[in-house]
Subunit: 292 residues, 2 copies
């Protein structure tokens, strides 16, 4: 019987643990962990994301600082804002909502965030700490995928994993996390030959491409665990539908466990952001990591 | 007919190009590129390495600064030395010869080197730039392996590569370099199941484990390119011999091209250090990268 991995339920459980870790922090520091989110412009999807991040932070007992800036803000003004947030001790985590308008240099802005406050895990220093096996903040989506995998499989050691997609945001840090858990990791992408045969050998499949149904159900090895990061909006039977990178119906017949879209990886990403904010808050104050 | 990849000849060719790029730098800056090497203690192998690096730098027309310190030097003294070398404009590259005596913290020392002078490519920031696809200095041995691969294969795009070994020094940056060249990359290690079958599927095998003959010749896919980073001293027929991670005699029958040990990757490592020093010198002075 295939297990459908309930990301929503797992995220709620994680949220409860995060909530429970806040009083200890508050006792030690006299304040609550603080997350600053920077939004530029009025993209409706970005506005929804930013609002739900702020709402979740407050719900768990953190402070939320929202900086909503006009579309026309300059790189210099944003750099100055990041510098102020870096210096502000009530801010433990800084997140710049991407994508930014075209006249802004995202990489320079993300790189200006102090790595100790880089709760999105996108700073090159965070990537380097991860690659070097050193403690740092890990990009939220792959961290959520790892938590779901470990919730299903326990130890991942010795398993064959394939990560489809090599983005800096998901695929590459995912590969590093799996490697650190002693998986044998294959990183596949648009130039990969015989993707079907490679997926068919994997005990763990993480799909992070963003192409609806590009991984076919009959590619999946019987019993494999499938984590689907992709979300694409498609029209099916005249209705708009959100689907993943993996053909869910057919894959669910073969897989041992699989995340649905929606309700799998999605709910984890916002909760791992909360997790990272809490961790950043603890570490910046030289407190031992909370039990999560 | 299997091609035996002549690392020594390739390294000499690269050395000639490096040499030719120095006059332009000297004209622009009024000085020659400078490499500082820090050696602690009297380990004979380390002494030989440090001396040959200095000799090669001078031979190519660079300045070499050798800092030989007593075994008993403190972490603080070494950090102060690194700070002076960071501030010294005549120093373009800083290399701390590893391993260091046990009372010293290598990671803290390497992390104290300014990333722009990190010619060994071991700073976590260098790892992060590589993982993020940003320009930085790349660890010498994997860079040398990549150069040899491209010298044999031209474009690596779409090829299946396996990297055996996941060290921060070789395996992990090698995987990043191959991925950036559009290979499908598998990273294998001591916990990998069915290594033979995985090696047998690869168009490119990079072995970086340090276990004599652990990869058997009959695992190699016909026509594959094999890069052997390992060097182990063994006794064969009563004689001491240097051998690689790959069973050379049998692998050479199947492979399309293979590096010998010695004479393959080894000579490249010192030359890529010179390459990195030159590159660091050019970049620190905001000159366009030399043609190498």
């Amino acid at each position: 019987m295939t297990k459908i991995i309930d990301g929503k339920a797992f995220a709620e459980g994680l949220g409860a643990k995060i909530s429970q870790s806040i009083p200890h922090f508050a006792e030690q520091t006299g304040r609550r962990p603080g997350l600053a989110v920077v939004l530029v412009g009025t993209d409706p999807a970005s506005e929804i994301y930013v609002r739900s991040k702020g709402r979740m932070a407050r719900k768990l007992g953190m402070e939320s600082f929202e900086h909503i800036l006009d579309e026309g803000v300059s790189q210099e003004e944003l750099l100055a804002l990041v510098a102020r947030l870096n210096a502000d001790d009530s801010v433990d985590g800084i997140l710049i909502q991407l994508p930014l308008p075209g006249h802004l240099d995202s990489l320079e802005l993300v790189s200006a965030i102090h790595p100790a406050k880089d709760v999105d895990g996108l700073h090159p220093v965070s990537a380097g700490l991860l690659a070097s096996g050193l403690p740092g903040l890990v990009s939220c989506t792959p961290l959520g995928c790892l938590m779901l995998l470990e919730s299903v499989l326990g130890s991942l050691s010795g398993l064959d994993a394939i990560v489809v997609g090599r983005s800096i945001l998901v695929g590459k840090p995912m590969a590093q996390l799996l490697l650190a858990r002693n998986c044998t990791v294959t990183i596949a992408h648009s130039r990969t030959a015989n993707l079907a045969a490679k997926v068919a050998q994997a005990d763990i499949v993480v799909a992070a491409v963003g192409q609806a149904d590009m991984i076919k159900g009959d590619w999946i090895k019987p019993g494999a665990t499938v984590i689907d990061v992709g979300t694409s909006r498609v029209i099916r039977d005249g209705q708009q539908k959100l689907v993943g990178d993996v053909e869910f119906a057919s894959a669910a017949k073969t897989a041992g466990a699989i995340t649905p879209v929606p309700g799998g990886v999605g709910p984890m990403t916002i909760m791992t952001l909360m997790h990272n904010t809490l961790l950043a808050a603890y570490r910046r104050n030289r407190l031992a990591d909370p039990a999560l």
